[in-house]
Each structure stands twice: as C-alpha cells, then as structure tokens.
Symmetry: C2
Subunit: 452 residues, 2 copies
C-alpha cells in the first residue's frame, strides 16, 4: 500500500467527502418511528453504487426497514462489514445545542444524530474504500457489506434475513460497528458482545384502580409485582432463577490475559457514579470478570399507580416492570423467557405475565484471530499506540447472527467514537480528527487484513 497517495487523496477531496458525510447526517432515519428509513436505505445504496459495488436493497419481513447489501472486490479472502443506517430518536430536541439533523461543527467537533452511531463509522469506511480504489487499484480481497436499518430497535428482522441469505455471508473476518477511544485517549478493540433478553412483565389484579382503603380485601398489583421480582434476585445480587447460572463459563486463558492487561478505570468510574465501591465490593479482576463474563438481571423500569406529586390513595390494578438480562453464550433469549416463566410459576406468580421479550444471543469471539491482529497493527501504525484489547462488550448487538450462526466468523469492533460521544443522547458528536484519522485507519486495516 502506498500510504502517501492514499493520504493525499483524502486531503485533496477533504471538503467533498465531508459534505458527503453531512448528507448522510441530514437524512433522518429513525427506526423507532420509521422517519426517513426508506430514503436513507436508498442513499446508502446509491453511495455504494458510486464505489462500483454491486448493491441490493433487500426487504425484511413485514415491510420492516430493508437491508442494504453490497459486494465489492475479489479474492480468496473475504471481509464482512456490519453497519446500520438507522439512528436513535433525537428527542428531547430542546437539549440539542444545534438541530440534530443539521450537522454542525463547533471547536472541531461535529454534532448531529448519527455522527458517531453509526453513520460516522459507515461513511468513514466508504470513504476509505473510495480512496483505496482511487489510489491503490483493486481491493486485495472481497468486501461484503451488510447495512441494516433496525439496530436501534433491537434488529428484530435481521436474524431471519441472515437465515435466508446464509450462503452469501461466508467470510474470514468481520469488522463490526462501534468502538473508538476511551477517556484517556486509548484506542479500544472489542471482540464480542453479551446477549440480551429484554422482558416486559405485567400484573393485573383487579378490574380497575380502587380506593386504597380497600386494601384488606383487594389484591394489589404493585405488591404482587414487588414480591415476584424479589424472588428473581436477592440483595446480595444472586440471581435465583433455576438453571440460569448453569450457562456461565470461565473465560478462556486468552480472554483472561486480556482482562489482566486492561488499564484500571475504577477510581474514575466510581467518581463519575458518585459511589464508594462497586456492587458487593467487586474490584480488580473479579469486577472485570463480572462485567464481561456473567449474566445479569437488571430492572430497567417500574410503573404502577400514582406517580405524580403529592398523595393519591389508590390501590393499583396494574403494575409493570421492564427487566433486561444480559447473557452469556448459549443462554438464549428463548431460554431466559422459559426459565423465567417456570421460576414465576414455581414461586406462585402465575399472575405475573411475560407480555413480551426480545433480544440477541451473546457472542464471544476469538481474541487472537487474524482480523483482531490486523486491527491492532493498524492501530499501531495510525494512532501510534498499543490498542486496548477488550475481550468482550458488556453491551449487546446482533453479532451472533453474523458470527457463530454462519460458521464462526471472528469479529472485531473498531470505530471512531470518543468517550464523550453522547450516542443515544442529545448532542451526539465526533471530533473531526477522529473521522479523518479513521479513514486512514481503515486503509491500513485493509492492507493488514490482506496480509494476516
């Protein structure tokens, strides 16, 4: 690879490419509401076409946001790239310092919904491929590009799509969305995700809310919910669902080695959260094992009865909870829902309804795969640093469908975010330098993956 011509191209076309980036950001594409989804898929497909890629916009079930599929380059080796063109809703609008869909630069930082998650990474990769083709000739391997439009609502139709197109998806490595720099400017690569099962629970006890004076006779939905939830996890943080912990495995020696090398952020995190110690006094390697390799049971929301100011003497007829379970491999959302139903029934809570659940399976990838080594070497060359290798993410995404499910493609997450990226929040942003460096990083990554 001739990095001089590659870099010169990026400099020469800097303004045009940046306008292209902003065009992506000006087009709303909110999966939760459907706003701009069709237009955005078309924009992504057109852009792939200008690279000379073969592009298809492929429907998903039930007229949901389509998958944009692109293939470009030839060779024995294949790199699968996963991105998404949808974004989180921009609300609350009043907290944005500039309109969310009018990309605005302040002090070298670009603000817009999707600037980072995930249009920033998608565009960086497109621009890097353009520069490669213009300056280095053909790609050294085949790129298969899957850009979905429902990541921000849990990718409800992606796995089915993958099932239907399995034979397309064979690859030697996968470059995932997200990633970037931590609070201390350390570049971070991640090789997995926890799964998730997000459950909505509901209790309905009587026909309508009653006067609270009737409590000696009338079943109270809020109490029923409290008692049911209190059987799921005890105050020492033990999850009490039969069979749930059977899925926990010790991390591999390679994963443990990465944990041992992780820089400690404990003091900074505790200061930010304003707590003296982590749950159960967890610290050091134990805290990291818990964070990256154990399943959770987390209350995300509780709703019942009177929630306004002051007093209202009501006996609630209905109570609901939102609970998320972060999962380890083989502990699937279906298994969690089944274990949970059995647990509730066993403890006498047949009246607690699992209204719905959805989620992703966990995926812990090979932390020593070629794509990981290539991503690390590219970080040395562009960012002049030893990247932080995180064996897994405590968060979740549809990685299993694009890895284990299709035969075990190793995955690495490498992005352009910085610590204060505000993704999913008002004033989402990316430092422009991260975008410029990010294009050079992808160029070098192409060379390194070809050699890996």
């Amino acid at each position: 690879m001739d990095t001089t011509t590659f870099d010169a191209y990026l400099l020469q076309h800097r303004e045009r490419l940046f306008e292209d980036y902003k065009d992506f950001l000006r087009q709303p594409s909110v999966a939760a509401t459907g706003q701009g989804i069709v237009e955005m898929a078309a924009l992504v497909a057109r852009r792939f076409a200008t690279l000379g890629a073969s592009v298809q916009i492929i429907p998903t079930e039930g007229n949901a946001p389509p998958v944009v599929w692109a293939e470009i380059g030839e060779g024995d080796k294949t790199l699968l790239i996963y991105n998404h063109y949808d974004v989180q809703p921009a609300e609350p609008f009043n907290l944005w310092l500039s309109p969310p869909f009018e990309p605005t630069v302040r002090d070298g930082i670009l603000f817009a919904r999707g600037a980072s998650d995930d249009k920033g990474e998608l565009v960086t990769r497109i621009h890097a491929v353009e520069a490669w083709l213009a300056t280095q000739g053909k790609l050294p391997f085949k790129i298969k590009w899957l850009v979905e439009g429902e990541e921000e609502i849990g990718s409800p139709h992606l796995h089915k799509w993958v099932e239907q197109h399995q034979d397309w998806l064979k690859a030697d490595g996968c470059l995932w969305e997200f990633g970037g720099f931590d609070e201390n400017g350390r570049f971070t690569l991640t090789m997995g995700v926890k799964g998730i099962c997000y459950v909505q629970l509901r209790v309905k006890s009587v026909d309508h809310d009653l006067h609270s004076s009737l409590a000696p006779l009338a079943p109270n939905a809020a109490w029923r919910l409290i008692w049911a939830l209190s059987t799921l996890k005890d105050a020492q943080e033990n999850i009490l669902i039969d069979g749930y912990k059977d899925y926990v495995r010790e991390p591999s020696e390679a994963q443990m080695e990465l944990l041992r090398r992780l820089p400690s952020e404990e003091d900074a995190i505790k200061q930010s959260w304003k707590i003296d110690s982590f749950l159960q006094g967890r610290t050091g390697l134990d805290a990291l094992k818990q964070l990256y390799f154990t399943p959770t049971a987390t209350l995300c929301g509780l709703t019942s009865g009177w929630q306004g100011l002051g007093t209202k003497t009501v006996l609630p007829a209905e109570a609901t909870a939102k609970v998320d379970f972060r999962l380890v491999p083989d502990l699937t959302p279906d298994i969690v829902a089944d274990l949970l139903r059995k647990h509730l029934d066993k403890h006498g809570f047949t009246d607690v309804e699992i209204v719905s659940y959805n989620g992703y399976r966990a995926e812990f990838c090979d932390v020593e795969a070629g794509i990981v080594k290539a991503a690390a070497r590219a970080a040395h060359r562009i960012y002049n640093q030893e990247p932080v290798l995180v064996p897994n993410s405590p968060g979740s995404g549809p990685m299993w469908s694009l890895s284990s499910f299709i035969g075990g493609v190793p995955v690495v997450c490498a992005g352009i975010s910085h610590a204060d990226n505000r993704v999913h929040s008002p004033n989402e942003n990316v430092p422009l330098q991260n975008y410029y460096d990010g294009m050079r990083y992808i160029g070098v990554l192409i060379e390194e993956f070809a050699a890996a």
Copy 2:
C-alpha cells in the same frame, strides 16, 4: 317540631334554596391549587351570617386556607358539625359531560364538582337550619360549625388550629361530613375512621442513570427499592414491621354486633372488581374485621427508570414508592414513620429514604352514643328504613382531632351521597331527591338530638 310547616317552607323556597346550592358549586375552591379558596371561605361565612350565626374566618398557619367557624343557637347541649368547603381538582376536564363548575341537572341528577363532597352536605345542613329557624323558632341546642378548606389535601393545618381553639370545641355529639345511600339504597351511618400515614420513599443509588450493561458493578435503585419493600409485607399479606401489629385491638362487642348485622355485599363487590375471592380467601365476619379493624400497608405507586413504550436499556439511579398505611387507634403517623425507619435500617436499607409522610390518626367512636341513636331515628322517620350502622370507615379523615383529642365527642357520619356519586372523579353528582330529603332529614335529626 312541626314537620308540616318545616316541609312547607322547603317547598315554598325550593327554587331560591336550589339557586343558593348552585352558587356554592359555581365557586371553584380547589385546595390542591388554591383556586377560589379565599372567595369560597367568604361565601360560606356570608351564608352563615344570613342565618344569624356569629361567624369568623380564622387563618391557619402559613396563610393556608382558613377555617370558617360559626355558632348559632343556645342551650345546655351542643352539636358540633364538621364540613369542608374545598374540593378535589376537577381534572381531567375532558371527561366531564358538563363543565365541573357549572352545576347542571340531567334526569333529576345534579352534576358538579362538590355537588356531593362536600358542598352538597354543607348546603343541605345550612338550608335545614334556615327552615328550622323560620318555622320552629329558636334551635333547641347550640350548633358549633367548623368548616375547613384543606380536607382534600389531608387537613395539614387543622389539628394545630384545633389545639389553639380547644376551649371552643366542647360538644355532646358531632355530625360529620360524608355518608348516604349504598348500592341497594340503604341509608348508612358510620361512627369512625381509620387513620392514615402516607409515606413517600426514595432510593438514589448512583449519580445518574447508567447503561444497563453496567449492572454487574453499579447499584440499581429499582432493585434496592424492590428488596426493601419486599421486607415490609410478605405474599401472605403479613405486615412484617416490628411493633406494627401491637396496636391491633379486638373490636368491642357493640362493634362486632354491628359487623354481624351488616348486609353482605361480597358477591357484588367481587363481580365489580372481577376477582374470584378476596385476599387470602377472606370472607364473612373475618373479611369485615380485616376491612374495618386492621391496619394496612398498601403500595399506591411505584416509579423508576424507563416507563414508556418499548425497550430502553437503562440502569435507574432513582426509584420511588408511595405507600399508605391505614391505621387503628393509637398507631399514629409519627409512630408508623418511626417503626418504618427502624425496620428499614434493621434490614440494611439505610439508603431507602423516607422523603415525607403525613396523615391522620384513627378514631373509633361510640357506636351507641346519643348522636348515633338520633341519626338512626331520623333515618326511620325520613327514609322509612332501618339504617345500616357501620362501626367504622376503612377510609380516613381528621376525626380524631375533633373527637378523642377534645375529650371524646361521639361522631356520626350522615350524608346525601348515593353509590354512583363519582366523588373525586369526573361527573360528581347527587340525585336532587337526596338533597331535598336531606334537608328534611337534618330537621328531624335536630329534634331527635335535642331529645336524645
């Protein structure tokens, strides 16, 4: 008493008196917001003055709604009357079939906020006294009339006012607000109230809401609240707070006798609530003892984290609960708050804050007092039925301050409501016949109490 002239007066002045009633209803007087409170107190005072009463508008602490105090008549015997001139907020306005402060008659039923609770009863009593004075001459005893303006927000300043005016309040019996006819048209008299302690609980676990993937390290406010609440009461409805049940006393033989005589409403209630059985299978006398004579612990509200549609993977930094405890005599709100604090601390929940609490003490009055007998005899004469005597109300009110606190004045609740009165709700109403009969009832009650 000459009931012929009394009744003739009411008939002759029917239109004027009804307009007077409507004037009371047209004047908003919402304690929660302060709307119209000053004007309403003045209106009540002016009306008392037209009866020839000596009237005072007496401030309560901190510029809160004043007490209107009136005295009229002379004699060795004294009847204390308790009413309130404030009403519940009328929201949600869109559910009213006619505007809440424009009294409207449909099919012989008067609709307006306060039509029943408590302007209806206040006006009925004023009109009856007017008719007595016009047709029977002087009152046979002294009436002391206390009309407060904060009942709908828990009478926060009434007890202090009573403390400061104790020497005014001596009486032989007290006619309370509320009461009337049940679903089967049976006239009901009640001789007590449970107390209440309404508590707001809050847990704050970390500085701000976190991504739920951090659950293995970050304390979750919602879980802390769940665990704390689950120690207060078990799924068999046993309240587990040390010392709480020590205050429960067996009902007196006279109270038990009234319970035994109560008509069974169980099937109708279960049908309305859409349940097969009451809590813990309670039924018959046991259910009634629980309803009227045991203290409760009732969740009125739960709030934490994400409560909107769909999923949000948040670890809540804050969780709150509203809990009401209905109380038996001697179990005061202060005692409950103290027992609760000790309970939470003992179980390791020092992080669960009692943000505020307020309430009323319980008051179980003599069910065989003269005022009760007079009220029952008046029911025979006007409604031609044996009234249902309920030894106590499962609800609450500031009765203790006007009964035990001032030396044990026996109290009876006798009103003009019907079962579908919609008090505190849109379309509050009173059948006009209840108002017309109610004035005659009060006239006869005056005669009966004089003779008791």
